[in-house]
């Protein structure tokens, strides 16, 4: 029993509660936020090492044996996501010191960030489908608060669409979970994996899987369910945009990997062609949408959609190689996307506008910022030896090995268009001459540069240390697909069915 799995949930929850009570003491709230996030980061790093050494970590709440109680399971994928979530939250908090005004801090900005960390960590650790629904709602509530914090007209309009479409996705999730309980009689993921492999009436299971595909697809931003994303992500604080852009859609992808890789394994093979088509359409639509945009954050928001397509491709290939590349690409994208939002956002913060036409001259004025942008955008496009290269290489290799020529062609072509958009921002924001006199513009201080620099450094380190990163992704992918060992770890050597029979259901 690994009871320590509750720590990354309890610490953010308690610190969010305390921070809510003393919200007017800004200094202390900041200290609490940083301390809690640092704890989760350290814990996540420790968990990464522990899982590599001893395998999956499992605990049952209050000692109720699975499949009856609340199960927490951490495997390689959970640990990767946990660490990256804490890293992003920490970096975002650092960036917020320089960019978020005192009024918003008073309206529970940091407590909401901590609740978001709480919800995401829970979603990554849970071993139960209904609990996953609850964790999703927790992180959604926190994100609703953050995206509308400030209350400008754009935030209210974008926020309304964000909220309504996400609620619709949640209802689909709930319906899917309910139907699945009706079909299988359990919602514990290990138990489900065990039972679904023996169920006769597969057509109903396919319908249920469809509900989950819609629910997670809408949260991940897959075509044609992504419309809430580009309409809302450019409206809130830059720090909030950066955190959401890096993290939230990937929680949807994580859920897709987990639920389809582990629970619906037989359905995954059946739905794979559909997932690949959706992945390809998502890549193309996102990148074309970005080409039409003339605002830094809106371009980047459309690119989130495009890159979510690559991650869905990793799932649609239905192989350990595909999933490995998908996980690696997701880890890379979480870091780099947030870095790009932070850098583009810093330029926007300094000039006071995100419209490309009114910007310019930043390369001469802020050479450090320009250098960071260049590194991060090359990483996004996939220039070796930066991280994006290995993720895309892995996906394309896995695709070629399985003779999925079409999706490989689309993935490679979309990369070129990504380069086009990144160069567009580079030319307009950094390279071209400034129209106005920039000498009155404030300088980018450490508060704006350091958070992005940390993320770029992490991205470079992940690229240079590609071999261990890839190895860990492979371990995580194998654990996702390995239901036999999951059942053993969660319910004991005889499986969940035996536990239930022993109790005498």
């Amino acid at each position: 029993m690994a009871h320590h799995l509750f720590l990354p949930l309890i610490v953010p929850l308690l610190s969010a509660s305390v921070a809510t009570i003393i919200v007017r003491q800004h200094g202390w709230v900041r200290v609490i936020a940083v301390a809690a996030t640092l704890f989760n980061l350290g814990y996540g790093a420790w968990l990464l090492v522990t899982i590599a050494a001893t395998g999956r970590q499992v605990t049952q709440a209050a000692g109720w044996s699975a499949p009856f109680g609340i199960t927490l399971v951490a495997d390689g994928l959970s640990a990767i996501m946990l660490v990256l979530t804490a890293l992003l939250t920490l970096v975002t908090i650092g960036y917020s010191f320089a960019t978020v005004d005192a009024r918003q801090e008073r309206f529970y900005y940091y407590p909401l960030l901590l609740l978001l960390l709480f919800g995401c960590s829970g979603a990554f650790l849970t071993g139960d489908l209904f609990n996953l629904y609850v964790w999703f709602e927790i992180l959604l509530v926190a994100s609703f608060g953050l995206i509308t914090l400030g209350g400008s007209r754009g935030q209210l309009e974008g926020g309304l669409k964000y909220v309504v479409l996400n609620l619709f996705g949640s209802i689909c999730f709930l319906v899917g979970a309910g139907l699945l309980y009706g079909v299988a009689g359990t919602l514990n993921m290990a138990h489900l994996a065990e039972r679904l492999s023996t169920i006769q009436d597969a057509s109903l299971v396919t319908a249920v899987a469809g509900f989950f595909l819609v629910a997670f697809g809408s949260k991940a931003g897959l075509a044609p369910l992504f419309f809430w994303l580009p309409t809302s992500y450019h409206t809130p604080n830059i720090a909030v945009t950066a955190l959401f852009g890096g993290l939230l859609t990937k929680v949807g992808i994580y859920a897709l990997y987990r639920v389809f890789g582990t629970v619906f394994q037989s359905e995954l093979a059946r739905l794979a062609p559909l997932i690949l088509v959706v992945a390809g359409v998502t890549m193309v639509v996102g990148v074309i949408g970005a080409m039409a945009q003339v605002n830094v954050r809106r371009i980047l928001a459309f690119h989130i959609v495009s890159q979510v397509g690559y991650m869905a491709m990793g799932l649609g290939l239905v192989s350990v190689a595909g999933m490995t590349a998908g996980i690696l690409f997701m880890a890379h994208n979480i870091v780099v996307k947030t870095a790009l939002f932070l850098i583009g956002g810093a330029a926007e913060h300094l000039t006071g506008t995100g419209e490309l036409k009114q910007m310019g001259g930043m390369a001469r004025r802020e050479p450090m910022l320009a250098l960071l942008w260049l590194l991060a955008s090359f990483a996004l496009v996939g220039v070796p030896p930066l991280t994006g290269f290995f993720g895309k290489l892995g996906l394309i290799q896995a695709g070629l090995a399985q003779e999925q020529w079409l999706i490989v062609g689309v993935a490679a072509t979309v990369s070129l268009f990504t380069l086009f958009s990144m160069l567009k921002i580079w030319n307009e924001v950094f390279w071209k001459k400034a129209y106005s006199d920039l000498s009155a513009m404030p300088r980018a201080g450490v508060g704006l540069l350091a958070p992005a620099a940390v993320l770029v450094a992490v991205s470079i380190a992940m690229g240079i240390g590609a071999a261990p990163t890839l190895e860990y992704s492979a371990l995580a992918a194998e654990q996702v697909f390995d239901t036999a060992s999951l059942v053993r770890d969660v319910c004991g050597p005889n499986g969940c069915e035996a536990v239930e029979l022993a109790v005498g259901h």
Binding site: F130, Y133, V134, E137, L140, V141, F144, T148, G151, S152, R153, G154, L156, E157, G158, G159, L160, K161, V163, V164, L167, F168, S170, I171, L174, V175, A177, G178, L179, Y181, G182, P230, T231, S232, H234, T235, A292, Q293, V294, G504
Partner: protein, 117 residues
């Protein structure tokens, strides 16, 4: 009873989606309300059939619930889902009210300033 509830769930989903497709924000929210009610009732249907007057209470002397009692898990799930949807819908209503004030219209087609180039 199962048939009646199935029809009710179907009607709630149909009505909810119809309302969500209207242009008014208020109708959109009412549609969400109907959808979440439909989802909760659907969960209810997914227990071990609908069982009347057999609450899943454990008698202390017996130690286990009577064999033909209702499924307690599904009731716990519905309770959780009701609480969550209650909280979220309250938030949506407050948000819609503020959006209505900012845009001075409850027509969704008037709320396109973040989509336009």
């Amino acid at each position: 009873m199962t048939l009646i509830l199935s029809l009710v769930v179907g009607t709630l989903f149909a009505g909810g989606i119809y309302l969500m497709l209207r242009r008014s924000v208020v109708k959109l929210i009412l549609g969400l309300v109907l959808l979440s009610h439909g989802a909760n009732l659907l969960l209810f249907l997914m227990g071990d059939g609908l069982i009347k007057a057999r609450p899943p209470f454990v008698k202390p002397e017996a130690g286990v619930a009577p064999p033909d009692s209702a499924d307690p898990l599904i009731q716990a799930l519905i309770l959780t889902a009701i609480v969550i949807s209650f909280g979220l819908l309250t938030f949506v209503m407050a948000l819609a009210y503020r959006a209505d004030q900012a845009v001075e219209s409850d027509d969704l087609d008037a709320m396109t300033s973040t989509d336009r180039l």
